[in-house]
């Protein structure tokens, strides 16, 4: 069990005058579980990274190293406990790209500009407004629900907030409609307008299928399957 613990309180005290916003602030903050991360939106990722590094470098020991991976508009700062990530600062200088939802770039600055300063377990931090937090959770649900049904928790969160009248539904929907859009479903397959070309293409694909099947199952089995299909 790792005994490495980074004290996040002094760091966020140093960042108080910077334009940033912590996304999905965990309840246990400034405590954290080994291996967890903190997503931070900021205008100047390099400036924030410089501040974080300046603070963390004092903690470097034979067992604790720091790793920075620079991907231009996104920077990872990993506190490493030997070869395991103890804690990750995931700094974004722009919105990540989503497949299942289209988001206007300006939403990123809107989140930072509308962020709220709160006290979380005696640490002053900047977090998104209630409406932005709700939109971000909706985006996360929309993007990942297909792969991770657990993301339904974000919809539960929204239902609870609306039921308790903690957020104004009209304002939430106004902002959601303004900044997001669902991608159009398009058929990208190209089909020739010429009937002969289409037929030749069909024969070629059948030939490929047969060739593949002979390779995988042998000639005898393939012939049996072809005869069965013709009889049908």
């Amino acid at each position: 069990m790792s005994d490495i613990k980074i004290d996040l309180k002094p760091l966020f005290e140093k960042l108080i005058d910077k334009a940033y916003c912590i996304i999905k602030l965990p309840d246990e903050f400034p405590q954290y579980k080994a291996g967890s991360d903190l997503d931070i939106f900021c205008y100047d990722v390099e400036d924030i990274s410089r501040k974080v590094l300046k603070y963390l470098q004092e903690s470097i020991t034979s067992n604790l190293t720091l790793k920075i991976i620079n991907m231009e508009s996104q920077i990872y700062i990993d506190v490493m406990d030997k070869d395991k990530i103890n804690f990750r600062f995931d700094l974004y200088g722009a919105l990540p790209t989503y497949k299942n939802i289209l988001i206007k770039e300006a939403f990123f600055s809107s989140i930072i500009e509308n962020s709220s300063v709160i006290e979380k377990n005696e640490v002053t931090v900047k977090v998104p407004s209630q409406i932005d937090e709700s939109i971000l959770r909706y985006i996360e649900y929309q993007e990942w629900y297909g792969q991770n049904p657990n993301k339904i928790k974000h919809i539960d969160y929204l239902e609870k907030k609306i039921a308790n009248k903690e957020i104004e539904v009209n304002k939430l929907l106004d902002k959601l409609y303004y900044y997001t859009e669902l991608p159009k479903v398009e058929e990208n397959r190209q089909v020739s307008s010429n009937g002969l070309t289409r037929y030749l293409s069909y024969l070629f694909s059948m030939f490929k299928k047969v060739f593949k099947m002979v390779k995988e199952r042998g000639l005898g089995k393939t012939m049996t399957l072809i005869i069965r299909k013709i009889k049908k």
Binding site: D47, S49, R50, L53, K54, T65, I68, N70
Partner: protein, 301 residues
């Protein structure tokens, strides 16, 4: 007076012609002492054809070359060795000078300094300063850009831009995406040093930091390092290396102390050795103070 861009810095170049190279150390020292300029790069060069070289250097001048031909005739007979000193001009104080087609933008700070250097180092005849100028200085950053490209730096003055701001990286370390900050034994720290007969005939070899002229200059005799600089400056050593400044920095040196917490020694890992890419002076000073471990930034692509 219409003075432009008082606060914006720019990159300039002071070119020391062949007949000025005998005073190279003095001229360089004058540039170092001038607080308006920070030396970024010192690049000695032996042009194959001095006539073509002169023409090339003046091809971006505000005046057409036919006008400069008589003025630069003396340059055809000078020794075939020059030195480009690239500086960050901290106070350009730009203004438009000249009339009609000769009107051009120039840094008044650099213009005044250029005249001072010419007063001090131009040849004199009959108690008067000749126009056989020992130095040429750029009028604008565009001319510096042209000189950089002539020397093979395709990105021009952009070459001097550092790639990131979270750790202090010198401009010449480029294209690295991964940075690891760790504590290492000083026994594992090595560096590349230059050997060979002169600045234009040399090779590099990897040695332990304690065998470097930089460390031996501290632990044995500082003249060892001075001789090393004298021999290779402008060739393989292109930074503003200076023994006096090195000695002064070492006097009250404390590695990574405020406000230099992000000024890590930059190393690359090769064959179980950490090779210093930047910060050799800091490593030497840190070890000389008796430290056996050092925090470094190991970079990889």
């Amino acid at each position: 007076m219409n003075t432009l861009s008082l606060k914006r810095t720019r990159i300039d170049c002071i070119l020391i012609w062949g007949h000025g190279m005998k005073d190279f150390d003095y001229i360089l020292n004058d540039i170092i002492k001038n607080e308006n300029f920070n030396i970024i790069k010192i690049h000695k060069h032996k042009p194959k054809n001095i006539k073509k070289f002169v023409k090339e250097m003046y091809s971006y001048d505000y005046a057409p070359f036919w006008h400069l031909k008589a003025k630069t005739k003396y340059l055809l007979k000078i020794p075939r060795e020059v030195c480009f000193v690239f500086v960050r001009n901290l106070l350009p104080n730009e203004d438009y000078l000249g009339e009609n087609s000769f009107r051009h933008k120039e840094s008044l700070t650099l213009k005044a300094f250029k005249e001072k250097l010419r007063d001090d180092y131009n040849p004199y005849e009959n108690r008067g300063r000749t126009h056989n100028h020992v130095i040429h200085a750029t009028d604008s950053q565009e001319q510096t850009e042209h000189m950089m490209k002539y020397l093979g730096y395709e990105t021009g003055v952009k070459y001097f831009e550092s790639e990131n701001r979270f750790v202090d990286l010198p401009y010449y370390i480029k294209d690295y995406k991964n940075f690891e900050f760790k504590l290492v034994n000083t026994d594992d720290i090595f560096c590349n040093i230059i050997k060979g007969k002169s600045w234009d005939s040399f090779f590099s070899t990897t040695v332990h930091v304690k065998e470097s002229p930089q460390y031996r200059g501290l632990s044995e005799d500082i003249t060892l390092y001075q001789e090393y600089i004298n021999k290779y400056l402008g060739g393989p050593l292109q930074e503003n290396y200076n023994v006096e400044r090195y000695k002064k920095v070492c006097e009250d040196f404390e590695y990574l102390k405020e406000p230099y917490q992000n000024s890590f020694v930059i190393v690359e890992r090769k064959e179980n050795k950490y090779i210093v890419l930047d910060g050799l002076h800091r490593v030497c000073s840190h070890i000389y103070q008796g430290n056996r471990k050092i925090k470094v930034c190991q970079i990889s692509k």
